[in-house]
């Protein structure tokens, strides 16, 4: 695993999410009250970018068909989505967000 710096924490306000590309992987960063979380940005239902959707509390809502995912775990929690999103370990050091991805 490699720990890759993806963004400064100040660039991602609490309650927002943003897409970053790491090692050819599209990753969605979500900043919640209890930390920053990272899941795959591609909806497991119809392969659209979840960063174009909305964040309701800790729930990521897909813009295309309304599937929903838990931002902390990547679990699919509402149809038509049923396959979980891949989750990536995240750490914040010195005000910088790092995501761990396969090398």
């Amino acid at each position: 695993m490699a720990s890759i710096r993806v963004k400064a924490l100040t660039e991602l306000t609490t309650g927002t999410m943003a897409r970053v590309a790491v090692e050819e992987e599209d990753i969605l960063l979500v900043h919640l009250e209890d930390g920053v979380f990272a899941v795959s940005d591609i909806c497991s239902h119809a392969r659209v970018s979840l960063s174009d959707g909305s964040l309701e509390g800790s729930t990521i809502c897909c813009p295309k068909h309304g599937g929903k995912f838990d931002a902390r775990t990547g679990c699919a929690i509402a149809f038509p989505a049923f396959t979980n999103l891949r989750k990536f370990p995240v750490s914040v050091r010195d005000g910088e967000i790092y995501v761990e991805v396969d090398e």
């Binding site: 599937g67 149809f79 038509p80 049923f82």
Partner: protein, 467 residues
Amino acid sequence: MTTQPVGPELEEYQYGFIDKDVSVVRFAKGINRKVVEEISTMKSEPGWMTDFRLRSLEIFEQKAMPNWGGDLGDLNFDDITYYVKPSERQGKTWDEVPEEIKNTFDRLGIPEAERKFLAGVSAQYESEVVYHSMQKELSDLGVLFTDTDSALRDHPEIFKQYFGTVIPPEDNKFAALNSAVWSGGSFIYVPKGVRCEVPLQAYFRINSENMGQFERTLIIADEDSFIHYVEGCTAPIYSTNSLHSAVVEIMVKDRARARYTTIQNWAPNIYNLVTKRAVAHADATMEWIDGNFGSKLTMKYPAVYMVGPRAKGTILSIAVAGAGQHQDAGAKVVHAAPDCTSTIISKSISKHGGKVTYRGLAHFSPEAERSKSNIKCDTLILDDLSTSDTIPYNEIQNESVTLEHEATVSRVSEEQLFYLMSRGLAEEEATRMIIMGFIEPFTKELPMEYAVEMNRLIKFEMEGSIG
């Protein structure tokens, strides 16, 4: 009742009679925020439902028309009446239903069917359910069978827990439209361990010209329960188009079984754009028995999402397209847990220039270890003017699964005809017999009374199909 002359482009249709307008409320044509708010206000809905409707309207307005499937070019959303209330109140006996409407349902055979072999009946005319009844034995067991508006009012907790969870308004443009203006439909809750051995039925009738019917059905079969629900639909023939856009959500809990039988026999001026989806949990079984006759264009793909281990899904459908008609129908089976099994049997018949399309999805997610699906699509094309397409989508994300797909397209064979005619049958009788054999896997799954009706319908549909 009067019968409107049928244009040359429309084939004969036995339920095309028109009643005089007896409505007590009729909205102006077109859809906007005010229409949606007025529907919600008139039904005295809670704020969350008004908000849900308005959010759905925004989604409907934002979503583009589908650029696949059938031709929706003639569908004008501004030329549709979105709400028509046919009577002041719902009848618990047929005597409480306005006479004109009662006569219509008599003519459609609903009260007779109710007396003979149904445990409950719901009859929707235009936007509202005008008659509803259920046998006391079932209500004593805790079964809830009511129209969807009453369910929102009388069973708000269970309603809110499930409504819109299987098919959210974002799912597609027509699910969003239904979510914005829904009215009527059926709500069924079967408690744990309760088996409804006798079917419940709903019948949907559109009477008005340029009418939109947007019923919403929600069925919850709790653990170890069984329910068989039957729906039928008809409408008069007009020279202009009407729209039927329903949403049906079904939740089949662990070890439960639900069967949903549809015989849609719409007039040839109806756009029938319906979203039907069921979720089957562990060891649950969901069966869609789906008959599509008539309509100008049907786009309907009943789905089973198998989310628990060993869930089963069956979709058995028949589609018949005649002159000027396109049946773009099919099925979706989603295997999202280990050891799920599914079967799709699709029978299509096209004649007199009609077009049938089978469009199906078989999805196996990474969790679907050892799941299996068997898909069989057969089409019978009765003349040179008619067409058929088969468009299967197979998505396989697990290497241990088994998927079998067979498709046949055939004509009524000369050999079979010769054999039957050599036994003394006329050509038309022989053809009909071959067609009956072709659709037999479908009719044998219907309750006997419906199978008889189906055979009669097929016979009627096939009249003049020779040559």
